[in-house]
Amino acid sequence: MLLRDVKFEEKWLPGNAACPGCGLSLGLRLLTKAIEKPVVVIPASCASVVQGAWPKSSASFPLLNIAMAGAGAAASGIANAYEMLGKEGTVVAWAGDGGTADIGLQALSGAAERGENIIFVMYDNEAYMNTGIQRSSSTPHGAWTTTTPEGKREFKKDVAAIMLVHNLEYVATASVSYPVDFIEKLKKAEAHKGTKFIQLYSPCPPGWRLDASKTIEVGKLAVETGAWILYEYENGKLTISPISSRFREKKARRPLIDYLSLQGRFAGISQQDIAKLEAEIDRKWEFLSKFE
């Protein structure tokens, strides 16, 4: 797919309440460009706020706001109801990392086990941004948040790997910095039966202490330094996406500091923590290579 083949239509309307340069806002916009009839379920997250205030909404598609733990369960119900009523629509659960990795994990795992016909997108901005930048289990090691003032001690939870071992037909990682890749992955996910999972890297300028104009740039740097690996797992086979496969060899990757120095949340990071992050990147690449 080429960039010029992407649809003209905009169903994510301007004047929404997202912060300038919001990665999630771009993600939702790309979702409407990939899927013809999206029916979206959003648990408590930034995504429930950026739609704007009643009686207007920036979403020009059916959307249900639901309690934080319930994205997987509500999406399951809607998918079944649509099937019974014979209505057309692709049910998408659009949850943040808090609503996926922490609070929504059991509902997601339950939906995956039952094989509900939904696409679950985890937009990963690596903390609870909506409530004021608290750490989540998806926050990377060394990152500042309001609850980790000295940098997080633990490492990022790998939710895509958790979904991988649920033996789903389709699991992928994507980034808002590579829009065509994300659109293609959504289209592929739509073509599969059962539960599909996509983890979307989604930069947050206020939460990452990042300049609003650098949203796309930081996402590209994450891929070029190997910190974010784009891959897809389809019918039991894992493939590193072409964009990321260039950075398989450590020599080909840019130094990690290029990625970290752009973000204020890593401003106070020590050399030891950088070394730990680098080791974690190597471990992740090795871990993924075992599934290929």
């Binding site: 929404n16 340069g21 950026v50 009686p55 065509v180």
Partner: protein, 102 residues
């Protein structure tokens, strides 16, 4: 110079009669978060002589405030552009300049 292509925005008429009492329903519309152009400190200005119609600014705009015309020309919807500057940062020919608002 190109005009904003208003046709790209899809806003269907939705009949919610009788449902309002049971659910807090919202209907799609522009400016659900207010007049977001008031947030803007820097204004993106396209130099059409440098623009190569690559559509990168269009696809990377988080707000759908850069519209795409039939001939792939792009135009900025200044009514809602928040001035984040992603378009100027990503433009490969540096055809977009961020200018200070008055």
């Amino acid at each position: 110079m190109a005009d904003v292509n208003e046709e790209v925005y899809v806003i269907p008429e939705i009949d919610t009669k009788g449902l309002e009492k049971e659910f807090p329903l919202s209907k799609p519309g522009f400016g659900a978060g207010g007049k977001t152009n008031e947030w803007r400190l820097l204004r993106p200005v396209i130099n059409y002589e440098k623009c190569i119609k690559c559509l990168i600014c269009w696809i990377d705009c988080p707000e759908a405030t850069i519209t795409r015309g039939k001939d792939n020309s792009v135009a900025i919807n200044y009514d809602y552009c928040k001035g984040c500057g992603v378009c100027a940062n990503e433009c490969p020919t540096k055809a977009i300049e961020m200018v200070k608002e008055d």
